[in-house]
Amino acid sequence: MRKVLTAALLFSASLALALSGEEVMQKVDAHPSPSSMQGTMVMQLIGKQGKVLTREIQVWSKKADGEERMLIKFVAPADVKGTAFLTIKKDGKEEMKLYLPALKRVRRIAGSQKKGSFMGSDFSYDDISNLSGMKIEDYTHELLRTENQGGVEVYVVESTPKPGVDSSYSKQIVWVPADTFVPTRIEFYKKGKLYKVLTNREVKPFADGKYLIPTLLEMENVQSGHKTVLEQKDLQLDVPIDDAVFTERFMKKR
């Protein structure tokens, strides 16, 4: 009898605690994001047959005055060292510049890159910019179920783009643990078919726990069998970054 009571109590408690899909994603979105970031990314591109190629890039990003700026510079491999890529987003407009040291010229790039591959990896630009959270208002979120993973309750939410929203994916299924509200796994679907799977292998607290940042991520393209493991190293958050970093001069500097 007592067991039944306990079970009933637990059940009603879980009902009381249960969140809707929208609420889960709001909690995910509520994480503060840093105003600037600086660090190194090591990307391992892993082919279907297991061949590994490593790329290392340095990243600077800054959000200020309604402007998002990001500079990427290749460190390795040697033959692309110094290649730089600058993105400035303002008022929904995107300006991109590319510097190829072999040509010694900065080129402006037109055309949308957001669905394109990020540095030749399995991440798209969209995926990278959504790492700090997708634009939740563009999607409808439905709680599919909850799972228990090692004692932690995990919400499984399906996010479908609202009509008229230009999304790379037809839907995403997001696994959100109730203790951190930092997604651990996202399945990306294209035309209803599973396309890619993102796994956050490691989430680290920064600034005394103010930020929770995934530092070891794996994106697998299920259709091609190719995957990318991305490690964020030497991360510094909310550090002042000189505006001179986001210029052509800095791009050309070795």
Partner: protein, 743 residues
Amino acid sequence: MAIRHPWRVIGLFLVLSAAFGAGLRGLELDNSPESLVPPDLPAKLLLDQARETFGGGEMELAALEGEVWTPEALERLRAATDAVAAVEGVQRVTSLANAKRMEEDDGFLLVEDLLPETLGEADVADIRAYVEGHPLYAGRLVSADGRYAAVIVEVDPAADMKRLNREIGAALGATWDGPVHLAGTPALSGYILDTMARDIPRQLLLAIGIIGLVFFVNFRSQRGVLLPLLTVLVALVWALGLGGWLGFKLGMISSILPVVVLAVGSSFTLHVLNRFYHELAAGASRRESVLLATRETGLGVLVSALAAGAGLAALFTSSIPQIKSFGLLAAFGVLAAFLASSLLVPSILVLLKNPRRIMDPERPDAISRAMRGLGGWLLGARKGVLVAALLFLGAMLVFIPRIQAETSFLSYFPKAAAPRQATELVDRVFGGSDNVILIVDGELKDPALLGAIYRFEQKVQAYPEVGSAASIADVIRELHKALTGAYGLPDSREGVAQEILLYQMSGDPEDLAQFMDEAATTAQVTVQVRSLPSGAMQDLVDRIQADAEAIIGPHASAVNTTGSTVLMLETMRLILHDQYVSLGLALVLVAFFNAWLLRSWIVGLVSIVPLVLTVSGQFGLMGLFGIPLDTATALIGAIAIGVGDYSVHIIVRYLEELRKGRSSAEAARASVYVSGRAVFFTALAIGGGFMALLFSGFAPIQTFAKLMGFTVSATALFALTALPAALLVYVQKDRKQEVVQDA
């Protein structure tokens, strides 16, 4: 056994037939290139590896007919491309609708989809101008006159080609409003499978009809028609059922299996029944007649069944999977027909009442009189006949080296067949429906290697048989133009690496994967070629290989050629080589069985005289009339040996007469007179059965049927002339008093 326990025998056959028959459900049709190409062929391994590295598979080329340069048409092309991409088993789709555009535009490097999301008239004119200036697209994805758009579909080679072809056709038909022409392997395979599904039952019924008619003319009774047909039915169920159990699939070549089993198998019962009715007519009891038919004639049937089985089983040495399984199943079918005719038929004969009217099939009639005349003439002309046979052999040997091999898939089809016409259309408007693939291993970031690949492409594109060539070098040249305003290649390794990186960043890295592996150590150069007959194709492939060696070779660590065309050419070489092995083996086996069962080496050697003459006749005629040796006609030698050994009945009768103390002249006369009639009708039944293949939808099988017509008549002719002549000259008396009696 059959006489004492007929019901047990019948029961046993029922059980076995049910067991084998259950396998029929597992029997499938398949004519994928996989079933024709030996799995361990080096070019095949290379192609598999290339497909693993660069993606892609068998190529289907769709030509969409209609004015391409309108906003509506491009929208439909986009819908068509999406629809095809959604088909299960499609790995990659390439068309104008998903092509990339990369250019210098007002100081910007523009990297975007060729087709913007919304299309107006002005956009179309702009796209057209861009495409016409870019060799990667012009003439490849759209015809020069703008009347045809290409959709290049790469499909999983292991997928069901028939379903794929149907679904791709349906997807295109639903989205494009003009005619759609489908060429390439899935289209051809789909057509082959449809044709097979239609031809097999039709040919089988026709063969049954013809053979039944021949049997009716011979026996003038229902039993004389039904019993042989029952035998072959058993044989067919066993052979095809075994195929199902073993997971074999019937392809274009093996689709002739039912007819082969039918034609060869029916002859066994013909001999058994002939003797049975003959004895019955001569006044013997039913049991005695059955006994004589199975014992005396049974020996001949056993020898010819073993020979036929050996000839067909020799095909098992072939390296071509489809020919291998055909050989095994056909040999098994022949064995089953033998068992049925020497066990099942006698059991039924024992149980059945005597027919009301008994007609001696060896009765004197026009045919018997002709045979009697022939026998008499032979006695005087034996030397002359042998000399004539030698002259024939010599003449034919002269023509054999002229035989040409042919493996072009296209040659299978009648000129009016849709996929053949589509292929010719694609050859005409897009410069080729086939391709030769070059795998280049080396340091691909080295501008010298890229330059060499580009020079190679220029060289081969000048050949009239080549449409276009595509490689990483073209992509980098295109990119370099967009970056710098001029076509060219970067002058340093770093420059190449950075431009490749830019390309990877600007789109789907998979776009590049079809040209080069991620580590930039292996590249795939695709040379688009027209469909050509094997000889011309071999010549072209040789030139391409030589150019690659000369131009790319010095800068690369390895250059290899592959592609489905190259596979078919290499397969052909194997077929030719296998041909001699299996023919030689089959002749040796037949001579051995005949010698062993008839207890004389001389007899064994003499017994293959008609076969040697027939086979050399076949190949001589092919050389003389320019009939190509292809996947179907390559079987002809081994099958000739399989079906042609009915001449053994002449030998068995000849020896039987000698044993009775007759002179060789009398024995020869008697054997030609008595067995000649059976040989004549067997030839008619077998030849008639093969004539059903004349109605095949495949040109090589029609040719095969015609050649079988020659083969069957020639074997009969040689069995009734050269064979008795040789017997008269070389076998004067039966060495052994006792011939093995037990069948």
